[in-house]
Amino acid sequence: MLSSQSFIDRLTDNGFNFFTGVPCSLLSGLIACLEESGEAPYIPAVREDAAVGLCAGAYMAGSLPVLLMQNSGLGYCLNAFTSLNLIYKIPTLVIMSWRGCGGKDAPEHIIMGEINEDLLKTAGMDFAVLTPENHQDVLQQAMLKIKEGLPFTLLVKKGIFDERH
């Protein structure tokens, strides 16, 4: 397991300074750290695509944004990713929880859990599956993509971060 606080520290060390999203229990530790720290703002978004827009504005205004969301919000975001981020080259780091991974979850998560990787691939969105062992490498990979102006998604399975709910 990764410590939420140390991961947030690593993000801020890499220059990320603007956080928004729609919560997921798998990301509850990360969001709690952001809410407690007060160093960088965490802005609760009403829906995932609004968070994509917010991050795009923040990036263009000189900040480096992170979007935290559940994979159930991916459908809402596909138009924003394909007709905003990917064509304007507006990067965002997306931390996306992977509900329904391996087919074991509540019924509403099963289909998206099976297809979220394919959807990201089809849309041309680069991603990596985050593990406690690879987190430094995938963050480096993300930084390279972000420097190229591209969004990058880290998929987070259950049990990677401590949960607070």
Partner: protein
């Protein structure tokens, strides 16, 4: 008042402010009348002009940040009005050109003929929200919003009169982004 006339009133009042434009007619008319480096033309991602504008306003708190929005865009992302009101950027001015139709796709009706969007903004918590219907009301209302403590909301009721021959924005999306960022010193 015609939509094109509303733009003719408001564009000369702009100085160097970043202006985020909603897709469709809003982008095309503004581009046609006066292209500016500080204009962000959102050509896709319908509904997100307000959230993009909010992101800019929160990260550039010393600049007035303006959004040129449309009724269809506002209706699609009504929840973003709550985000704007809750984060309360003092420097944000949200202007909605309300023609009550989706004009660039053939003038299909929107819901703003029955739903007063400035009341929605007010109820969401915008400290200032006005409606204007006459050309001569635009300048004083705009001044009030620019001088006041935002976020401010201005609904401009217009008649649809967009000329479909009006060209599209000719800059590439990457050019639009780069110019916009440079205009704010964020490039």
């Amino acid at each position: 008042m015609k939509g094109t006339e509303a733009f003719k009133e408001i564009i000369p009042l702009l100085k160097g402010e970043p202006v985020v434009h909603a897709n469709g007619y809003i982008c095309r008319e503004s581009f046609q009348q006066q292209d500016r480096e500080a204009n962000f033309y959102m050509i896709g991602s319908m509904g997100l002009a307000s959230s993009i504008g909010l992101g800019v306003a929160l990260c550039q708190p010393d600049k007035k940040v303006i959004v040129f929005d449309g009724d269809g865009n506002v209706l699609m992302s009504m929840g973003t009005l709550a985000m704007i009101a809750a984060t309360a950027p003092k420097n944000m001015v949200h202007i909605v050109f309300d023609n009550q139709v989706y004009e660039s796709t053939g003038s299909q009706k929107s819901l703003s003929g029955t739903i007063p969007l400035e009341e929605v903004a007010k109820s969401s918590g915008y400290p200032m929200a006005f409606r204007v219907t006459k050309k001569e009301e635009i300048k004083p209302a705009f001044k009030k919003l620019m001088d006041g403590k935002g976020p401010g909301f201005l609904l401009i009721k217009v008649e649809p009169d967009f000329d479909p021959k009006t060209g599209r924005v000719t800059h590439t999306p990457e050019e639009i982004k780069t110019r916009f960022m440079n205009s704010m010193g964020a490039g």
